[in-house]
């Protein structure tokens, strides 16, 4: 009896109290604008230009991407300003690409804006970061008639693929990891706009929180190989080892790297063993007709080894003179150092570092034609 009464009372209370509830404040899905790409341009020390690209799904709209641009000092206040122009609520759940122009990377505080995004729990880990030549806003605003939309294009361009394996594919975690880790210097892919196309044509190497140098894809490939990436981009080589000018292309199948340090940070020595396996996909030069026997191939391998050792050695020498360590070579010394490791120690060590290289190439096949 009591239970019955309780049921009836609670039923009425519930029905009547519904009138007191507040209106639902949640934003329906069609009113949410999911930012896909963001771009930052440098204006001066305090100001930057923030551009966001939001996909437009409405079939009535003429363009399939909405672009908003604003001059601001803080990222979040910029977003608030953009919301004033936008018909939708801006959220970051689908953020995929962050572009930063070269000026910003060299003079601005890129770490601060990325840290702001990293703090935001909405932002996933798939956000890819890239440095852009000249103007990042222009890249988002430009027309790419043969692409579905700028968002897809940028994202696919920056994602890992075998032919651009020199690209470090730095995502938001990698960026925060390398910029806060004293043994690393951050690397970001560098994009340039050429007509109606975008091109990843290099890698920006940071020193501390600022961009320091732009390096070529071939050199960036070395960084990837030394930091232990297994699948690398095809390797293009110019040989000049007693057989005149030779050009060859090796499709790399697998590379393994082993680093042995002498554990001494006063006079650091590092020996690097790099083993690469690949197929000779194209060859142009004097020896073309001879490359059918295993002996001649092993001779070619030796020449390739020498050439690679020279190229890589020169490149590492250059990095050492700049005191940057994008491949994390100083980790081999930190592993054996007791006490706190600092960025200054890395700089000091890299300047003094003496590197010995052993490259071992093996060409597994030259295709099916004899």
């Amino acid at each position: 009896m009591r239970k019955k009464r309780l049921c009836i009372i609670s039923f009425f209370v519930l029905v009547l109290l519904v009138g007191c509830s507040r209106k639902e404040l949640k934003v329906p899905l069609e009113d949410v604008g999911m930012v896909d790409s963001m771009a930052f341009d440098y204006i001066d020390e305090n100001q930057m230009k923030l551009t966001v690209a939001i996909p437009q799904y409405s079939p009535e709209a003429k363009k399939n991407t909405q672009i908003f641009s604003i001059t601001t000092d803080l990222v979040s206040s910029g977003i608030v300003e953009i919301e004033k122009q936008s018909d939708k609520k801006i959220v970051f759940n689908q953020l995929r690409v962050v572009l930063v122009n070269e000026d910003f990377a060299r003079k601005g505080d890129i770490r601060k804006i990325i840290q702001h995004l990293y703090r935001n729990a909405e932002v996933g880990n798939k956000v890819l970061i890239a440095v852009v030549k000249d103007n990042a806003e222009a890249i988002l605003k430009a027309d790419y008639p043969d692409k579905p939309s700028i968002n897809f294009y940028l994202n696919n361009l920056l994602e890992p693929s075998i032919n651009t394996a020199f690209n470090p594919n730095t995502n938001i975690h990698d960026f925060m990891y390398t910029i806060t880790n004293p043994v690393f210097d951050t690397v970001l892919p560098f994009i340039e706009k050429r007509g109606e196309k975008l091109e990843v044509n290099g890698v920006a190497v940071f020193k501390g929180n600022r961009m320091h140098e732009l390096i070529k894809p071939e050199e960036a490939l070395v960084i990837q190989a030394l930091s232990g990436r297994k699948n690398l981009a095809p390797l293009h080589l110019d040989l000049n080892a007693g057989h005149g000018e030779e050009k060859l292309m090796i499709d790399l199948i697998e590379s393994t790297v082993k680093k042995v340090s002498n554990k001494n940070i006063e006079s650091p020595k590092l020996t690097i063993f790099l083993k690469i396996k690949g197929t000779l996909s194209e060859y142009k030069g004097e020896r073309e007709s001879q490359l059918i026997t295993t002996e001649s191939i092993s001779e070619l391998e030796k020449d390739v080894n020498k050439q690679l050792e020279k190229n890589i050695g020169e490149f590492l020498e250059r990095l050492n003179n700049m005191e940057v360590d994008p491949a994390g070579l100083s980790e081999e010394f930190r592993m054996y150092y007791y006490g706190e490791w600092t960025t200054e120690k890395t700089r000091d060590l890299i300047r003094k570092l003496d590197i010995k290289l052993h490259v071992e190439t093996s060409i597994i096949s030259t295709g099916t034609l004899k």
Binding site: G124, T178, E332
Partner: protein, 361 residues
Amino acid sequence: MSTTNGKVLNRYHVIFLAQSIMVGTGILSLPQKLSSMGYAQTFMPLLFGLLATLTAFAMVWLCSKFPNDDLFRMNEKLLGKWVGRLINFLIIIQFIVFSAGIISNYMHLIQSTALQEQTITLPVLCFLLLLIYIVSGGIKSIARFSVMTFFITIWIIYFTRWAIEKGDPSHFFPLFNFTSKEFFEAIKQGYFSILGYELILFYFPFIIDQKKAFRHSLIGIWISIFLCFITTAISVMYYSEWQLKRVEFSVLNLFKAGEFTFIERIDIIGITLWVFLILSSVTAYVWCAKRGVDTLFTKKKKQNYPLYVITIIIFVIIRMPFSREFQEKLFLASNYVGYLIVIWPVFLIIIYTLRKKQVQV
């Protein structure tokens, strides 16, 4: 005490009670709590495991001298009625605040990651309703819930796969690279993450096979320790030292490293599953608090109202109008009192040996 008058806990219950109570919110922020040691924190959970084994041995030894009494009764017997009751009262308050701390910590996590646009009142209410439901089933229903929790949640370890792939094992070296100051700071901050096994002091009388209780709870303890070890090891591999220090819930960011094409936020799955772990540890604490109230006021035994009162107090503590700062201090204080409870049995053992003759059971 509605259904649990006799001995009800078999060995699996004992294993998983010890295991599930330990994994509360602690493991979520363990790498951050230990971050004063930087990369050298990897093996800290194993050291904690040793400490836990030692203290658990003291607890079980004491319990085996009073096979039918829980800590509340032992306090009364060993310290006299009034001192014992005072201590019991403090323990009850401690458990209530501690549970409130765990829930509040979890709700803070939900607020900052999953439900950013909502207040947490409704989730807290739902949580407390479930809590009442489980606790009123007695210790056996909590134990069963713990077993279920373990098997429901253990597979989320799989989600750390990508972090392992990306991580760098060289971070483990050099081993033992820390100063004594960093070490003690890490113990102080981190040991709280593995608290929970001390509740065997309260459910010991319900264990069927009391002689093997120590071995069974050790299995549970070391399962948890192993999970903590995996957590710190993967975090050390995946993060830089700066990130270890700053990323508050580092385990969730480990899940974020996941690369499924069809799902963006694996961490949300992790958080929502975590509610099982939180429930299993909070229910055990609340059950102990309720036992305490029952022993303090022994007039009407078979009633459930102390549970409702406790739940309301917890709700008030979580939603209380005090500042966030005061709340934090309160919960921090209750963590340190938690350490006291771990050491308390050692003190009682000393008293027991001194007053052996007077307190024969």
